[in-house]
């Protein structure tokens, strides 16, 4: 039997009740901080992922007095990531005011990265493995890695291994002019060659989502976000960076007419069905977000606010490669499973945060949930999952207006929703409840439920 009680598994150990038998404790969202999101090539054009993540982290540290604090664990990630940034999150921690003894790890699940860091760290808090954590994400579309061609890469690696001059010359002679052209990162799915927008265009046509409905959702996103800024909602959620104090993509003065005047950019081969424009799709964006998570005891000991509890989460994936489902439709399946686990329906949710990868993604999701046949055949329900009350959807704006730095979106949503739930307090004698839904490349999605504290 080991002294520390955790390395060996002897006969004594198996007889002991497992730690899992004790009740799980709560994981609390204390608050969040992000830098304003900037359009690619804008205010953060020269800032790296590490710069932005550190800036978001330092703002969080300043807000909650975490200087020199050894936080249980920090997890964050980036979707567009340089190979030199293998330890991105740990490097950001070392560059921040946190104690250098704070451990960190990188996580990557495409656009669900940010939400998944919240889920994973919350689970560790619930298990009692850590008492505090910072979840986050960052992405730069401006400072994206540029990769050399396969031909050049192989030549460079072989040159490193070559021992003699004739060997080196022979290897160099393999180089062709085309090998010297660099490759910029794309958003095409590796298995289909279709960009995310082209994939969504297929789904949009399948669910017959109209151009008008998409433009209306986009307009609401801008109006809601601008109203939230106007009401000071983001005063304790956003720290200015590089001269930006509000999201650079937000267009408070946009109108239905302006949005209607834009030409479709995705699905143009669909002819009359091409409805997706730059106005109702998210732009490439730079930014970073962080969320402070804690146990009740940790937050109380420091007299920190407690906004919401991370109740539960569910991941799903769809078989999109040959078109069985749309690329961004995984949350359509994750949400009913998560609701069922808690005996909830859509009517029990006070706020919906459905990530606006494209306006049509949100509308296709809602359409699938309202479809009787889809509910029966694909979701295994008696009928449609139900209708989302649109007055509860993305009430402070979402990615269409704020922009979408891929891995940073989850942290933006969780911090904003937690604050919203806390302000709401309770409904019908129960805590206010929020649902987060984030779709991701590779046909994946992560969804979560938060409750006010």
């Amino acid at each position: 039997m080991s002294i520390d009680g955790q390395s060996a598994t002897g006969p004594d150990e198996t007889a002991r009740p497992t730690a899992g038998a004790t009740a799980l404790r709560r994981a609390i969202v204390v608050g969040g901080n992000r830098i304003p999101f900037a359009r690619a090539g804008g205010a953060y054009a020269k800032s790296s992922n590490q710069d932005m993540l550190t800036a978001a982290l330092d703002g969080l540290i300043a807000r909650f007095g975490l200087q020199d604090e050894r936080v249980g664990e920090v997890a964050a990630g980036a979707v567009l990531k340089h190979s030199r940034d293998f330890n991105l999150t740990r490097e950001a921690v070392l560059g921040s005011a946190l104690s250098a003894e704070t451990p960190a790890y990188d996580l990557q699940q495409a656009c669900a990265t940010g939400l998944e860091t919240v889920v994973g760290l919350s689970n560790k808090i619930k298990l009692g493995q850590i008492d505090s954590a910072i979840a986050g994400g960052v992405d730069s579309a401006s400072d994206a890695p540029v990769v050399v061609s396969e031909g050049l890469r192989e030549v460079i690696l072989d040159l490193n291994r070559a021992k003699t001059l004739p060997q080196r010359l022979q290897i160099l002679s393999r180089l062709r002019p085309k090998d010297l052209a660099p490759l910029a990162p794309g958003t095409a799915e590796p298995r289909t060659g279709l960009s995310m927008g082209e994939h969504q265009a297929l789904t949009t046509a399948q669910w017959k989502v109209s151009r008008e409905a998409q433009d209306e959702l986009a307009l609401n996103s801008h109006r809601n976000l601008a109203a939230a800024y106007g009401a000071g909602f983001f005063d304790d959620l956003v720290t200015p960076y590089r001269g930006l104090s509000r999201d650079g993509n937000m267009r408070a003065d946009t109108s239905a007419e302006k949005l209607a005047s834009l030409k479709p950019v995705f699905g143009r081969n669909l002819g009359a069905d091409a409805t997706m424009t730059a106005g109702n799709s998210t732009p490439l964006t730079d930014g970073a977000s962080t969320v402070l998570l804690a146990s009740d005891e940790w937050a109380d000991a420091r007299d920190l606010p407690k906004l919401a509890a991370v109740v539960d989460a569910e991941a799903a994936a769809v078989d999109f490669v040959h078109g069985k489902d749309g690329l961004l439709m995984a949350p359509v399946f994750a949400v009913p499973r998560l609701l069922a686990r808690h005996n909830l329906t859509l009517a029990d949710i006070d706020y919906f945060e459905i990530h606006e990868a494209f306006a049509a993604t949100v509308l296709s999701t809602l359409a699938a949930w309202e479809d009787e046949d889809f509910g029966r055949t694909r979701l295994g329900l008696d009928g449609a999952l139900g209708k989302v009350d649109r007055s509860r959807l993305n009430v402070n704006g979402s990615s269409l207006a704020a922009g979408h730095p891929f891995a940073a979106t989850g942290g933006r949503i969780v911090a904003s929703l937690a604050k919203l739930l806390h302000a709401k307090g309770s409904t019908d004698g129960r805590p206010a409840r929020g649902l987060v839904s984030v779709c991701a490349a590779g046909g994946q999605g992560v969804v979560a439920i938060l409750e006010s504290v």
């Binding site: 020269k46 800032s47 590490q50 550190t54 800036a55 020199d68 005011a97 200015p240 001269g243």
Partner: protein
């Protein structure tokens, strides 16, 4: 002695200053020096200096600083440097600017400065005094937020005019022997490429030829190009890391120059308070092959009492450099 500052309309151009300094050197050779042992009283000032954010980011990336909106203390030095040069470039400045050696530097970062803030920068010279091998002088630069009286950043750079002895200024008695230096175990090893001088020149604006290339350095009598002293000191400051907080005193004394390319060994020793809070970090850097010391210094917490108030003109009671800064028998960089 309240002399009104000379207010310049814009930050002087360093390249013009260098050219002017060369012309002045030639003129003085022909006409002889003024034999003055007095420093000009007038300070120089530039108001509402704006920071270029792209330049700030490039500086932060090169030096290894976190790319926050706060100006690194060494960046402020680079910002104020042309103004400091302009004071030493005056006709009534008694020492020849070209060839002066940067012995050491002391910075009080009292209040963090953001790149979004316009800055008023002043520079003056003071404390003309003897050195065993010439005459030394302090250049004091102060940086305030535009329109405010409080000094947020105070820098004292000590320079030596080697071989220049002015009437009425005593030479201190020679120091006995070279202080022993035994290299500790390094905590870091820097690999400086031959382009390290050019890279720092690009972000600091200090295109002194002795830093740029072997050829340009040879033209000025150097064996090879050398790293900027403030590049080395600023990297050490960055290596101390964010534990130093937003206000601190940063001192460095320069010794053997770093000829490029180079490997530089560095040791940083940090002292913590009983509470575990950072108190100070001492750094020393040396050539790992020869064991010669390149520079040493410290970053220390700036106590509230020392941070002063707005009206204080800190130059009066600012101590000159500590002995380590001027004791070395070797030289750092020349102007």
């Amino acid at each position: 002695m309240a002399v009104q500052p000379l207010i310049l309309g814009e930050m002087p151009s360093l390249s013009k200053l260098y050219i002017n300094a060369a012309a002045q050197a030639a003129r003085r050779r022909l006409l002889g020096t003024g034999d003055s042992s007095h420093l000009p009283d007038e300070s120089h000032e530039v108001r509402a200096v704006a920071v270029d954010v792209a330049n700030l980011t490039a500086y932060q990336h090169l030096l290894g600083e976190t790319a926050s909106d706060v100006l690194p203390a060494g960046f402020v030095h680079a910002l104020a440097f042309p103004l400091a040069m302009s004071v030493m470039n005056r006709d009534d400045f008694p020492l020849p600017l070209l060839g002066m050696i940067h012995l050491g530097n002391r910075v009080e970062q009292r209040v963090p400065l953001l790149f979004t803030e316009a800055l008023d920068i002043t520079a003056r010279v003071e404390n003309l005094r003897g050195h065993r091998s010439g005459t030394q002088v302090d250049v004091v630069a102060e940086v305030r937020k535009s329109g405010s009286n409080a000094v947020c950043w105070l820098g004292v750079s000590t320079y030596l005019a080697k071989g220049i002895f002015l009437p009425g200024i005593d030479k201190p008695s020679a120091q006995h022997g070279k202080p022993d230096f035994r290299a500790p175990d390094p905590t870091a090893l820097w690999q400086l490429g031959v382009d390290a001088g050019r890279a720092y020149a690009a972000v600091s604006g200090d295109f002194n030829p002795i830093h740029l290339s072997v050829l340009s350095a040879k033209a000025l009598g150097m064996r090879r190009s050398i790293a900027h002293g403030m590049y080395l000191a600023s990297r050490a400051l960055a290596d101390v890391g964010p534990a130093r907080g937003d206000s601190f005193i940063w001192e460095v004394g320069f010794e053997a120059p770093v000829f490029l390319p180079a490997r530089v060994a560095l040791d940083i020793t940090t002292e913590q308070e009983g509470t575990g809070a950072w108190h100070r970090s001492d750094f020393v850097a040396w050539n790992p092959r020869s064991g010669r010391r390149h520079f040493s210094g410290s970053v220390a917490a700036l106590e509230d009492a020392a941070s002063g108030n707005g009206d204080e003109r800190a130059g009066k009671d600012t101590p000159g450099l500590t002995e380590t800064g001027v004791s070395g028998p070797v030289q750092e960089e020349r102007i």
